[in-house]
Subunit: 144 residues, 4 copies
Amino acid sequence: MHRFEIRVRYGDVDQMGWVYYGNYLRWFEIGRAEMLRSLGRTYREVEDDLGVLMPVLEARCRYFHGARYDERVTIATGLLDHGRATMRFGYRILGEDGETCAVGLTEHCFTTRDARLVRPPAMLRDLLGLAPVVDDGLRAQLGA
Amino acid sequence: MHRFEIRVRYGDVDQMGWVYYGNYLRWFEIGRAEMLRSLGRTYREVEDDLGVLMPVLEARCRYFHGARYDERVTIATGLLDHGRATMRFGYRILGEDGETCAVGLTEHCFTTRDARLVRPPAMLRDLLGLAPVVDDGLRAQLGA
Amino acid sequence: MHRFEIRVRYGDVDQMGWVYYGNYLRWFEIGRAEMLRSLGRTYREVEDDLGVLMPVLEARCRYFHGARYDERVTIATGLLDHGRATMRFGYRILGEDGETCAVGLTEHCFTTRDARLVRPPAMLRDLLGLAPVVDDGLRAQLGA
Amino acid sequence: MHRFEIRVRYGDVDQMGWVYYGNYLRWFEIGRAEMLRSLGRTYREVEDDLGVLMPVLEARCRYFHGARYDERVTIATGLLDHGRATMRFGYRILGEDGETCAVGLTEHCFTTRDARLVRPPAMLRDLLGLAPVVDDGLRAQLGA
């Protein structure tokens, strides 16, 4: 799976002292953007050059261990599966000591700027054919 | 189900012109806090007076229709189910014209401030016995 | 000055237990949007009907007393002053017990959607002529 | 001045297509945390080991040019000045092509965990004596 490191910032943490649960979805967004970039294209190009948006149909996150302020976390991202008109990414968030903080998935469709559903453009389909896939451990944890 | 209205703010919306997908989890938090308040207690009291935290074990959201800037959305919240040591809330986000923007759930456990798992305190168990439950439509949509 | 109440949410508070300092600028945005609404129009209409944006040129905030989780805070908003091409709003954030949590200001210009500077449209100029102005105490605190 | 690069994420951008104005204060936080780290210590250590917090007394930001989605921005951070009980940092946010997106400052005091004002601990004072200072151009732009 593709790996990308980020650091937990002060504003990410709530008064429990752990990262606020909604912020993990932002990390998932970073994970899929950086995975795409590692394949040679960017989501900005998908939007700007192809005129295609990838809105989220579903997001899930299971939380195991809260990340803390200033911790260096790793976002591991892979393709979970795809149909003709949708695709799903899987994510594992790893803390500094390698333990799993959270796992999750997002499902996406493809639309034009005026929100009409379309098939994924060939460039994107080809690109995602090269994407790393989620490992079996993550697939099992996601039950999906 | 308990209903609470909020307004979409400028910073909530991304460049697609719809509410950023991670922000719905914040709305779920508002929904369960206000449902608890409507029953006569607050989550702040649960933390401060009982010393009990309710961290999130899992969150799911399915997105149907993006909410827009300045739209008045309704957060409908209900109890989905509970076990001896966990409980789940269900949520429906309704747009101004009554259509469903999103549905979701959160699962929670109960811990002390130093993160030891505990049973829910009696006050909270009694309170949640009075909570509105999710309607059958939402239960079916959540598949849970 | 125009007054609008909001409640501090869990995700707004950092691990110090006080509202994260950047979130006050979001409250200023809420304050000026609701002040405009109280005058009979909305910022959404300004953007959608007039095609005019009001980007922020400058923002300042002085912090006196941190707001806490679940606290009910009041955003007091007024017009600070305006020139031919810019205008400034002043804000006071009041805690539940009436003490001042923070004061601040934002300065705005007017642009088309493609970022060309324009004069404020007549509708907006007329409207803002009706806006409440900041009180002398706030003006002094802002030193502006 | 100390330089640190970050990338603009989807959720950072509002429907104007530019970074939401409140998010720059988060970047200032990143800038001062990373400047401190570059000097050999971390803000987490200041809080955890010394028991000292550095709450913000004032924040200012002037906006010149909005940063866009996926843009790589540089946060330049330096010490602006300090008194016996307070200190100020200055910041310049640079876009990918080197233009200035924004400049700003934050003023901080030093407190114990229970919010009593204290002098900065010697370790911190020594450390900040080594910190890069803001350049004259920034000082002039900040008018401070």
